[in-house]
């Protein structure tokens, strides 16, 4: 165990701090939104130039071109978080499509799409899930039939988060209906302006429409707008899902949330007593603190394994399940400790934290379900982590 970063990394940390001091004034004040405004684009550009965004993406594609160094990435995240400054743009185009293209795209595709995506000029959405294909994603039915030089797409996608704002979609479609389900899928990219696409907002239990449904009726897409080989889309998509699961269940987010709850419980009073003086809520708080620490140290352990190129085994597989669950329980504690105030919502008087504990409690349930449900995570943990057998397929009638 050596928790010190050492002189090289401390020097790097100093460099990041100097950047933060100098450029604090340039940071956007508005929250990150799906379609970045000029201020956000300028911030993103500044971060890329200095290696604090798109750090390891080659310069020829508009990135910074740095060597992968997981410790430096962590230092950047730590310092920006500590300073309360936003990091660069984070959207499905940057976090999922770009890594996929780097791994499996053609030279032409990389040159055409990566740079504008990084700059926030092109916004992407992800067309994976369908009403009939959630956990069993590979059963997806949106079909693309060949017609001359085009595919003609018909079907429906759901849970498409930025569809309303997106310029482009990376989309899984069935091109080989006769092939086994994993081998009949292709990964297509096309403009959201293509005729035949209809986007309908999907309002969720939080009251906001964080997602959309996307309908395709005879949407024509040139056959060359494919990433990877025809029929290989499942494997192309898995390259991106790997990136998505890494994003969910971030233990540092839980640490921030825990601090908010401590503040809340130390300031809010009931019967003239601070909430934190209530022994039952306090016990839950300390219990969750144990769990947050455990997951933070777990994250450090995974970081060390990754930096040494070691496979951390089962430790890696539990992050999404545990991380999302802890966040959800933290929100539940805040709500419970607040009593009736905990249910106020919308634009109500007496709102605490803008009613966000309820919306987080609800949205977190969405995260427990999305990105591979908790139950799918448990299948993965038991099958890949513990070597237990898969559920046998039911015999054909």
């Amino acid at each position: 165990m050596d928790l010190a970063y050492g002189p090289e990394y401390e020097a790097f940390r100093e460099e990041v701090r100097q950047f933060i001091t100098k450029h604090r004034k340039d940071a956007p004040e508005r929250m990150r939104v799906a379609r970045p405004d000029a201020e956000w684009k300028a911030w993103q550009q500044l971060l890329i130039k200095n290696g604090y965004a798109a750090r390891t993406i080659p310069t020829e594609y508009g990135g910074y071109g740095g060597e992968p160094d997981i410790l430096k990435s962590r230092i950047i995240a730590e310092e920006f978080t500590a300073a309360g400054l936003p990091l660069g743009l984070a959207n499905q185009g940057i976090s999922m499509f770009v890594p996929t293209l780097l791994e499996l795209g053609t030279q032409e595709q990389k040159q055409k799409w990566i740079e504008p995506t990084l700059k926030g000029e092109v916004v992407w959405c992800q067309g994976y899930s369908e009403p009939g294909s959630g956990s069993d994603l590979a059963s997806l039915q949106t079909k693309a039939t060949e017609d001359g030089d085009d595919f003609v797409i018909n079907g429906q996608k759901i849970w498409t988060s930025t569809a309303k704002d997106a310029d482009m979609i990376f989309c899984l479609v069935r091109t080989e209906p006769e092939a086994p389900k994993h081998q009949g899928i292709s990964y297509l990219i096309f403009s959201m302006d293509t005729p035949g696409i209809e986007v309908r907002p999907l309002k969720t239990m939080t009251g906001a429409a964080e997602f959309n449904e996307v309908f395709f009726t005879d949407v024509r897409v040139p056959k060359n707008q494919i990433v990877g080989e025809r029929g290989q889309g499942w494997f192309v998509a898995n390259a991106t899902l790997k990136h998505e699961r890494g994003m969910l269940g971030d233990p540092n987010q839980a640490g921030t949330r825990l601090k908010e709850i401590v503040d809340l419980m130390q300031t809010e009073t009931m019967d003239g007593q601070k909430l934190i003086d209530h022994p039952l809520y306090r016990d839950r708080l300390v219990d969750l603190q144990s769990r947050v620490y455990a997951m933070q140290f777990h994250g450090l352990r995974l970081l060390t394994a990754a930096s040494k190129g070691e496979d951390p085994g089962i430790a890696r597989l539990i992050v999404k399940l545990q991380g999302c669950e802890i966040n959800h329980q933290l929100a539940a504690l805040a709500i419970d400790a607040l009593g009736e105030l905990g249910v106020l919502y919308g634009k109500s008087p007496h709102l605490r934290a803008w009613g966000s504990w309820q919306s987080r409690y609800m949205f977190d349930l969405g995260l427990i379900i999305g990105g591979g449900t908790a139950q799918i995570q448990k299948n993965i943990i038991s099958e890949r982590g513990l070597g237990m057998p898969r559920e046998p397929k039911p015999a054909k009638a």
């Binding site: 513990l386 070597g387 237990m388």
Partner: protein, 363 residues
């Protein structure tokens, strides 16, 4: 930055694990438990050969001079094999008390004997750490002790006792001291020995140094060791449950292919595995960042105790009726985890202390 074990530390765990696989199979555990051995002499001899009793004792006094993190790794392996030997009190808490608050003469007298394994030390600090009982408590005056101390750890074969008095003072009491009565307590866990000490004008030698700090160190180190023991015992239960589920057939298929069973196993692993870096961190804090140690030891102890209970219960359920029998011996792990949970502060009490440490509750 490296959050993980060194090559030496991995080898330490591997070699101890190999030794215990050889000398401490289930039949040996059962024999020790059913025979009321209090301590399996042959296993203790094998551990002594590896230097386990003197791990954290300085080399100058015949020990290995290793860190508390190393001791935690050993504790984990002992828990994995439900080894019926003393460890937490004699190899960790007692040496720490002597190292921190003993006079040079006391250190010279006892540390080499503890390190060599020829003397077993028991520790009785429950009064100050897990709560004072109405009918117990030890008063010290003029070099003698009176009263009772409950829940002395590593009790049965101890030659030396380290006892806390009502004012937090620590005392060395020889096992054959006049006026000392030793009453064994039978806990659910027959792999470890627990007892009560009754003092009737018993001659005792006080530890002269900063006993408050030494008591805190014993408490924190003891909690980390118990957490590590539960971590090891809990993972063994998961491994056994998974193995059983892959073999046991019902409805024409192995029960491990039913999601109801798989998910129980996944939940156990997902809950217990993050306890490992928490235990590592707490032990590392004890070694290198002492300000953080009390809080981290409290977190490690309380979380691992709660998760341990969940694992013990769930792994037993995965084994179905067989888990409930004596035949498989799974209950040795169940009971070991059960004892670890209660010693040196059960979770609710420890979490309250953690709140006090952070200014979230009045002392």
């Amino acid at each position: 930055m490296e959050f993980g074990l060194s090559e030496d530390q991995r080898m330490l765990q591997d070699s101890l694990n190999g030794t215990l696989e050889r000398v401490c199979p289930l039949e040996r555990v059962r024999k020790a438990a059913e025979g009321g051995e209090e301590m399996a002499g042959d296993i203790w001899a094998a551990l002594t050969e590896l230097g386990v009793p003197g791990m954290i004792v300085p080399e100058a006094q015949g020990g290995l001079g290793l860190a508390l993190l190393d001791a935690a790794l050993v504790s984990e392996v002992l828990g994995r094999h439900v080894a019926p030997v003393p460890f937490v009190a004699t190899a960790v808490m007692a040496p720490l008390a002597l190292m921190q608050a003993g006079s040079p003469a006391q250190q010279e007298e006892w540390l080499p004997k503890l390190a060599s394994g020829e003397v077993i030390a028991s520790v009785a600090i429950a009064e100050q750490v897990s709560g004072a009982r109405e009918d117990a408590g030890v008063t010290a005056s003029g070099g003698t002790l009176n009263g009772k101390a409950y829940f002395a750890m590593d009790f049965g074969k101890a030659d030396l006792f380290i006892v806390v008095d009502r004012d937090g003072g620590l005392h060395l009491v020889k096992g054959d001291a006049r006026g000392l009565a030793k009453v064994g307590l039978t806990s659910i866990d027959l792999t470890r020995s627990l007892g009560e000490l009754q003092f009737d004008d018993v001659e005792a030698e006080p530890l002269a140094g900063d006993t408050a700090a030494a008591l805190d160190a014993m408490r924190d180190a003891g909690r980390i060791m118990l957490a590590a023991d539960t971590l090891g015992a809990g993972w063994m239960m998961i491994d056994k449950a998974v193995e059983y589920a892959k073999e046991r057939k019902q409805f024409g298929r192995v029960i491990g292919s039913f999601q109801a069973v798989k998910h129980m196993c996944a939940e156990m692993a997902a809950e217990l595995e993050p306890c490992r870096p928490l235990v590592w961190y707490a032990a590392h804090a004890f070694d290198e960042m002492p300000d953080e140690a009390p809080l981290m030891a409290a977190h490690a102890k309380s979380l691992t105790s709660d998760v341990g209970r969940f694992v013990a219960r769930t792994a037993t359920e995965v084994h179905g009726g067989m888990g409930f029998t004596d035949l498989l011996g799974l209950h040795y792990w169940f009971k070991r985890i059960g004892l670890n949970r209660q010693l040196l502060g059960a979770p609710e009490r420890v979490r309250r202390e953690a709140a006090v440490m952070q200014g979230w509750a009045a002392d």
